[in-house]
């Protein structure tokens, strides 16, 4: 009986994990470059998780990830809140993996390729705006991450 019970629960847990990863892939792509990733990219992300993100998450990583799954709006804030954390938190590594997948896809070249002809004024404005946004998100995100990790 015990063996039968295990053989039933394992695939259920696995399929729930897969569904979570597929949802996660969509949130990450939306957050990074405002796109809905096609199915093949979502599956590539699922495979990538199995290949390069195999370690068991730390308690801190697990809490942050669970919060993002429960409240997808928090993704950007928690990314910012953990950006300064040493040792690449799991959320950050997942974002890097999705970024790599998006960059290596021709459809998203427009959103990911280097921009070399902005001109100095536009460049200064865009960098200033991105820097200000990043600073604000880091402040808010750090507070949110502290709350999420403690609860």
């Amino acid at each position: 009986m015990v063996a039968t019970s295990r053989s039933h629960t394992a695939p259920i847990a696995a399929s729930r994990d897969l569904a979570d990863l597929r949802r996660e892939a969509v949130w990450l792509a939306r957050y990074l470059i405002d796109v809905e990733p096609p199915t093949d990219l979502v599956e590539r992300y699922v495979v990538a998780n199995a290949k390069v993100l195999r370690e068991t998450p730390t308690a801190r990583d697990a809490r942050i990830l669970a919060f993002v799954h429960a409240h997808p709006w928090s993704l950007g804030w928690l990314d910012a809140g953990t950006a300064l954390t040493r040792g690449a938190p799991l959320l950050r590594r997942k974002l890097v993996v999705m970024m790599a997948i998006l960059e290596a896809t021709p459809e998203f070249l427009e959103q990911t390729a280097p921009i070399d002809d902005a001109g100095i004024a536009a460049l200064a404005w865009r960098l200033g705006r991105a820097g200000a946004k990043a600073a604000a998100k880091i402040v808010g995100g750090t507070l949110l991450a502290a709350v999420v990790v403690r609860t």
Partner: protein
């Protein structure tokens, strides 16, 4: 040639030293057998389309297979150490080395190779020749090496220019004109031209690098097509790889290669023969090969293992040197916000020399690479900003990013050595640390160079120290010496206390100046090959 036949020479290894040591022997009609593991790329060979980087990124739906890797091995989260620069299609060069060439160390994590062509298959192709000052203290001088530099330069194809770096790099008649510099490098070189006098006064000189890359067709290879794919693919064969020379050698009937063999030991017999014992890496047995002379060129660490094991010098410490490496991440303010040319090559764009005491005294050499032909996620993962804003910033700044790779000189000391324990599977144990004085000297040089870079309108963002073994220039374990001392070689590469065992790789260089070793190693291998040829004929 039967594997039982006694050949004139056995060459161990197939890397840059091995093929160049073999060449003069084979050309002279002597029978040469090369023993080598000879791993090849079984995953990516032939899968990367022939086209420019920008076009592949625009059009190839399968680009993730080689840019990220079939096993996503291109997405790494580890420390930037030796080999961090290897793209997925280049990573096969290190295959099997953990298992077959184990290292035990807490401080030194070298890159080794059992690939056909050795580490040269993933080489950055920087080819600065040593100057007379660089060879001070060696039992050979520049006059001994110069003719072999010319022969090897013609064999492998070197491009460069006769510019401000001539006093540091020396003349070279066989040199092709330089390959065009990219927009990023061009902006800095323009600034240098405007500030030349002030910069030269502080000991900073810039010029075209000497690179083993073709600017015009040569020996069946194409000129660089400016496709920016040099880190990923060898299409066109513009950048030199030792397998190009190996292919030439294979055309000779007096040359043979026995692959999948890992040489364990050698023994000199009373009848003058050298007997080499090699393991079949695909099986469990060993076999013996006999020759009138032996040339070891299995890479410094591989050759050292073979020598220490053959002569039963277990637990005996031998010196080890390796250029300390640092990467300075730079933002080039000269080209910020400007459109850049798509056409470019991926290798070093210019060479920087820091020589406050002139060319006759030790100086420091660096090579500048633009951050192109790689994806941005590699930069973003190390930048502590939220990823969305990180992407915006990196997209705008990356066309003006560069990395100046500096290699400091290195001399042997009591804190840099390796030894081998007894047993076929025993690891090579390595201890390596710089003295406080060496570290201070290197830090002072880097600070001085950073001041020069500011005058060039290059802002240093970060210095990365990828670890002691990261330069992949390992040398000095069996140094050439004019004294007949055990575990050294004579000036012609013959291992002292042996009659016909020669060493032709980095092992024989007693110290390293601040220059890439590979080109000099190849020239010296050709010199040793010529000497072995004369000895065999005599």
């Amino acid at each position: 040639m039967s594997s039982d036949a006694v050949v004139d020479a056995i060459v161990v290894g197939s890397g840059p030293s091995a093929v160049n040591a073999a060449y003069p022997l084979v050309e002279a009609g002597l029978t040469v057998r090369m023993l080598d593991v000879g791993n090849r790329d079984a995953t990516y060979a032939g899968t990367i389309p022939d086209g420019p980087f920008s076009e592949l990124r625009r059009t190839d739906r399968d680009q993730h297979r080689y840019f990220l890797g079939e096993e996503l091995e291109g997405i790494g989260f580890g420390h930037t150490g030796a080999g961090a620069q290897l793209t997925p299609p280049r990573q096969y060069v290190c295959k099997d080395t953990d298992r077959l060439q184990p290292i035990a160390s807490n401080s030194f994590f070298p890159l080794q190779s059992l690939a056909e062509g050795g580490l040269g298959q993933a080489w950055g192709a920087g080819s600065p020749p040593f100057s007379a000052a660089d060879l001070a203290g060696f039992p050979i001088g520049l006059d001994d090496l110069q003719p072999h530099y010319e022969v090897v330069a013609d064999r492998i194809g070197i491009s460069g220019a006769r510019d401000d770096l001539m006093p540091f790099l020396g003349p070279m008649f066989a040199m092709q004109s330089p390959v065009e510099v990219d927009s990023n490098g061009e902006g800095i070189l323009r600034r240098y031209a405007a500030q030349r006098r002030a910069l030269n006064k502080t000991g900073v000189y810039l010029g075209h690098p000497r690179i083993a890359m073709l600017s015009r067709p040569h020996r069946g290879r194409l000129a660089n097509r400016s496709w920016d794919m040099d880190f990923w693919s060898d299409a066109g064969k513009s950048v030199y790889r030792p397998t190009w020379t190996l292919d030439e050698l294979k055309m000779f009937s007096n040359f043979s290669v026995v692959s999948r063999r890992l040489v364990r030991t050698f023994e000199e017999r009373a009848n003058g023969e050298v007997v080499v014992t090699a393991a079949n890496v695909d099986g469990s047995g060993t076999e013996q090969h006999r020759a009138r002379s032996l040339v070891l060129a299995a890479g410094t660490l591989g050759t050292t293992r073979i020598v220490l094991r053959s002569l039963s010098h277990f637990e005996r410490a031998v010196p080890l040197v390796c250029n300390p490496h640092s990467y300075a991440a730079l933002l080039n303010l000269n080209t910020l916000g400007e459109a850049v040319r798509d056409e470019r090559h991926s290798m070093a764009q210019f060479c920087l020399v820091h020589a406050p005491e002139g060319h006759a005294r030790p100086f420091t050499v660096g090579h500048f690479y633009s951050y192109r032909s790689l994806l941005l996620f590699r930069l973003m993962k190390d930048n502590p900003l939220p990823m969305r804003e990180n992407l915006t910033i990196m997209r705008h700044l990356s066309p003006s990013f560069g990395v100046l790779i500096l290699q400091h000189r290195d001399e042997p000391s009591s804190t840099k050595y390796c030894s081998l324990a007894e047993g076929d599977e025993a690891p090579l144990e390595i201890e390596y640390s710089l003295s406080a004085a060496e570290q201070l000297r290197n830090d002072a040089i880097e600070a001085d160079i950073a001041r020069g870079l500011r005058k060039l309108r290059c802002l240093k963002l970060k210095t990365m120290r990828p670890g002691h073994a990261a330069s992949v220039h390992y040398a000095g374990t069996l140094p050439m010496s004019s004294k007949d001392v055990e575990l050294t070689t004579d000036r012609d590469g013959r291992l002292h206390r042996t009659r016909r065992v020669y060493i032709a790789d980095g092992s024989v260089f007693p110290s390293l100046p601040s220059k890439g070793l590979t080109f000099t190693m190849m020239a010296n291998a050709d010199r040793i090959g010529c000497h072995v040829r004369s000895a065999l004929r005599a």
